[in-house]
């Protein structure tokens, strides 16, 4: 009797918000029943897709940036979408892929981290956070097989190691630690090319932010699904810098100035490609 009560209490003790929902409120979890076989039209569902995210380490932390475009086939679904979010005080997550599912997933991930911190009285380790996100992506695998994949990029400051760290994922939830810099999404090939030339070890923070904005500019140049800086609507990428002091969103004013510099220097160079 004692044994079973103790076991019951121990089994019920969870610090995970997702686990709690699964047990007590499963209807609240994002769940999309896979279509029955044969109902698929062969065409991917027309829903907004989020595109390019870049992230890189710099002296003292990491920078993550995302463009502002979501596309639906050949249509621009949104010019204002934000795809980089603070996951908690010391980490950020950027999302590429099916926007609706990705935003739901991010919201759940944010609550998951805060919930753990409140229940346990101490935050999860950075590795722990990265693993948790991997498990959530794995849960979306059935949808990914239907063409509704979510591919995040996760980065944060590891206070134990005293450095910024960067994790990428595949649709099966596989988690890979990246060195130096990384990009995901439709324009990632071009952004990665730009990063290879622009990034160098121990960049100061402001230069790292400028490099992030410029690599997104290059991605937008060659990928129609990635939006470049938009001086007409005053739209700039969303950029977060995370260091020992925590995550900070880079102000619109700084980004406007950096994007302005890039456009100016490219105009002055008068180069075609």
């Amino acid at each position: 009797m004692q044994e079973t009560t103790a076991n019951k209490v121990a089994a019920h003790a969870t610090s995970s918000f997702t686990e709690h929902l699964q047990r007590d409120r499963p209807e609240l979890l994002p769940q999309y029943a896979p279509f029955a076989a044969g109902t698929s039209t062969g065409q991917p569902l027309a829903v907004p897709h989020a595109t390019t995210i870049v992230a890189m380490t710099y002296a003292g932390g990491i920078v993550m940036a995302g463009d502002r475009r979501a596309t639906m086939g050949n249509i621009i679904a949104s010019r204002h979408i934000e795809k980089v979010f603070p996951a908690d005080q010391y980490s950020v997550v950027g999302i590429a892929g099916t926007a609706g599912i990705a935003i739901d997933l991010t919201r759940l991930f944010q609550v998951e981290l805060e919930h753990y911190e409140k229940i346990e009285g101490t935050p999860l380790s950075l590795e722990g956070k990265a693993n948790r996100l991997g498990a959530m992506i794995r849960g979306n695998l059935p949808m990914a097989l239907q063409g509704l994949a979510v591919v995040p990029l996760f980065a944060g400051f590891d206070s134990a190691a005293g450095a910024g760290r960067l994790f990428s994922y595949d649709v099966t939830g596989g988690r890979y630690e990246e060195q130096e810099h990384h990009a995901v999404g439709s324009g990632s090939m071009f952004a990665r090319g730009a990063l290879k030339k622009l990034w160098r070890p121990n960049l100061p923070e402001d230069e790292a932010i400028a490099v992030a904005v410029e690599s997104l500019y290059d991605a937008a140049d060659d990928d129609s699904a990635t939006g470049g800086p938009d001086p007409v609507r005053q739209l700039w990428p969303v950029v977060y810098a995370v260091n020992r002091a925590g995550a900070r969103r880079v102000s619109e004013r700084d980004l406007a100035a950096m994007a302005g510099n890039i456009i100016e220097s490219r105009t002055a160079a008068r180069r075609e490609a």
Binding site: F17, R25, L28, Q89, K118, G121
Partner: protein, 235 residues
Amino acid sequence: MTQQFYVSPEQLMKDRADFARKGIARGRSVIVVSCEDGIALVAENPSPSLHKIGEIYDKIAFAAVGKYNEFESLRQAGVRYADVRGYSYDREDVTARGLASVYAQSLGAVFTAEQKPFEVELAVAEVGASQDLDHLYRLTFDGSIADEHNFIVMGGQADKVSGAIEGGWQRDLSFAAAIRLAVRGLVTDNEARDLPAKALEVAVLDRSSESNRGTRRAFRRLSDQDVVELLAEES
């Protein structure tokens, strides 16, 4: 066959209430003070890890006296309730009033239906944009709920401590002054001995956490070092 003796409901409830009161009276006091900078929560607690004060949500904190296992399970239930609510509706929709009423119902149900009542007393505090919008709720073991103003004192010598706080409370106290006032109150409970920072657990709900610290989470636990500095500011 054993014959059950008749016990009147009045007697039964009275016995349960006396039992719970006795358990709570053994505990050290916890003080929650609303002041100009926000809400300060101060407890006498020698353990640095077994907390009596906790964060529930963005603007909501929890403080308790009594049996640790009982109020800890209530705290965790409160965090779950708040996170589920905030996740399924919006962060704005999580209020201290809602949480306090859930606590009142659970405590009431345990008091009447379970073998033994919870030996706890809880405070749920919500910091508002201005002092008039602060909410302080006191919940007792039988599920009664009281909407308090300005401050709450719970625990063993609550009446004595309460008197000391009432004398010194003002509307425009800063955090430092409110915490010093609370510590002075706690000392009256303790045969006039000094309380070192190590024996205190102090947390605040910052009224302007968005502008001061860039976060909507108003709850902040003060380290021993912070408490030593605050207490040393004594004018």
